[in-house]
Structures are given as C-alpha cells and as structure tokens.
Symmetry: C2
Amino acid sequence: MSSAGNALFGLLHAYKRVLRERYMAAGIILPLSHLRVLGEIGRHEGVMAREIAAALLQDKGLITRVTRELEREGLIERHPHPTDSRAAHLALSANGRALRERIKTIEKACDAQMVAALSTDQADAFIDTVNAMTEQLDREQETP
Amino acid sequence: MSSAGNALFGLLHAYKRVLRERYMAAGIILPLSHLRVLGEIGRHEGVMAREIAAALLQDKGLITRVTRELEREGLIERHPHPTDSRAAHLALSANGRALRERIKTIEKACDAQMVAALSTDQADAFIDTVNAMTEQLDREQETP
DNA sequence: AGCATATGGTTGATATTGTCAACCATCTAG
DNA sequence: CTAGATGGTTGACAATATCAACCATATGCT
C-alpha cells in the first residue's frame, strides 16, 4: 500500500461515507459540518463561536454560517456574554439536545464499526497516536 | 478528548494544511486532488480512469475532469487501450514525471513530520491499523 | 480620558471537493 | 443480434474550505 497520507485520505473518506449513510437512514439530513458543530456545542455548552472554530480547526466564517442555520432550525440558542457584548454563548435547545443524543448514538456505532477489527488496546492506542500526529503537524506552524 | 472520528477529522485537516503549505512553498499550485491523481498515475503507469477512481475512492466524474486538466497542463498522456476503444491508459509525460518526483519528496517530508513523534514500530502499525479500519468500514457496504 | 491595537463575529467572494443522475459509445454474454 | 454491463463524459449541484475586508466592542497604554 502507499503512504500514511494516502491511507488517511481513504480512511476519512470511508468514515464520512458511513456516517452520512447512517444519518440518512435515521432521517437526519443536516450536513456533517453542522452536526460536528452541534456536537461541539453539546460537549461544551456555552462555548463561543471562536472556540468552536479552534476546536474543529475551521474558519470562523464557516462557524458563523453554520450556527446561524442551526439557530434557524431551532437546534441551538444564543445567549449574550455577560461581560463581552461582542461575543455570545451557544447552547443546545431542547430539540438540539434530543437530536444530539441521536447523533451520539450513531457516531458511537460508526466508531465501533471502524475499530471492530482492532483489539481494545489497539483502538485506544490509535486515538492517542492520531492526536500525537495532529499535534506534531500543528507544531510546524509556529516555526515559519 | 473526543471520539476516534473527531480525532481523524483533525488529523487529516492538519495534514492537508501542511501539504498545501509545502506545495505552495515549492511553487506547486495544483489542488491536492490533482496531485493525488498524478501520484496514482505515477504509481501505476498505464492505469485506466476507472482504476484511479477506485483507488482514491472518488467519483469517476471527478477523475474525468481532473485528468482532463492534467492533460491540458501537459502533465499526463492518454494512450488508447489496445482492445477496448472506450478506455484509455494514462501515463505521465516527461513534465509530469518531473513534477511527480518533487511531489514525492514533499509528501515524504510531510509523512515524516506526521510520524516524527512516533517510534518506527508505531508508525508501521499505524498504517496497518488505518488500512484495517478502512476495510472494515467498506465492508458494511455489502450488507445493507 | 483618548488613542492604538487586538479580538469576536459577520459578510462576500471564491476555490476545492464530493455526489448524483443522465447519457453515449462500446463491449460482452447469451 | 439483442440486452445488459461497463468506461467514460457531462451537467447540476451540495458541501467544505479559504481569504480578506469589515463592524463593533474590548483592552492596554499613556
């Protein structure tokens, strides 16, 4: 087989496909980016848009648009920041929380399928490895 | 930290960014998809478009467009298939081969950076793991 | 207080990537 | 020789990503 990079492309591609299929089967039609943002808000209720952008490594402009749609769908709520009137805290609405639960289940199933061929040790090691690699790649950034 | 899926998103995102930065620094302006196709043709000179689509898990329509541009750029050549007049064999031109060498170097450097924090054993195991996972995800396909 | 600068967020423009379906020409099997 | 499969092309479009300009507010400095 080819390089680590190519292998990664393949894996994420397959993963996204499976995710999308399962969401569709469950009648969830939002694009993955929206679901990822929703998940991030669920994991850290009250986050600011800036933090989501940082956590998901995405452009803040993208977050603006995605959160706007999620709000329009009635899935999240925007609460004013107590001391900084520019910022807002984002939180799930009741509907958002319900959807998030369904998403979590599906995501867990996908992850389970992905690591099905691995031992528990391998699976745990894998996540650590992935995170270590990501850090390593981000490191370069700081030394231009 | 979050799920395996999220970790993967982050890793590939970081990897793509580093790749793009290095290509840009080297004055290579083609999008990643084109470079990936170029690489695939380089690895298997004489492939058919169909095979590239399968190897990269991409839509055949995408391959059509990408190869057309690569041909227009004078990076690849299209040779008629001896027995099937619908198909064509794709191969690198002299320019394409030169570019491919530069790409290979850059890709290797990125891969090296990515696995820099890992032991050799870990790095090898990682690729195997990734491939195993990809297979596992693709397997589901056949049992709807 | 008054200023420069940084920051959270928004917007517009645009490039890249991925998906789906219809379609043509050819090939292959029966 | 016909029916269906296959390689490839095309069109339309959705999704994802990037960049830069911009507004309003906040913060640090003097």
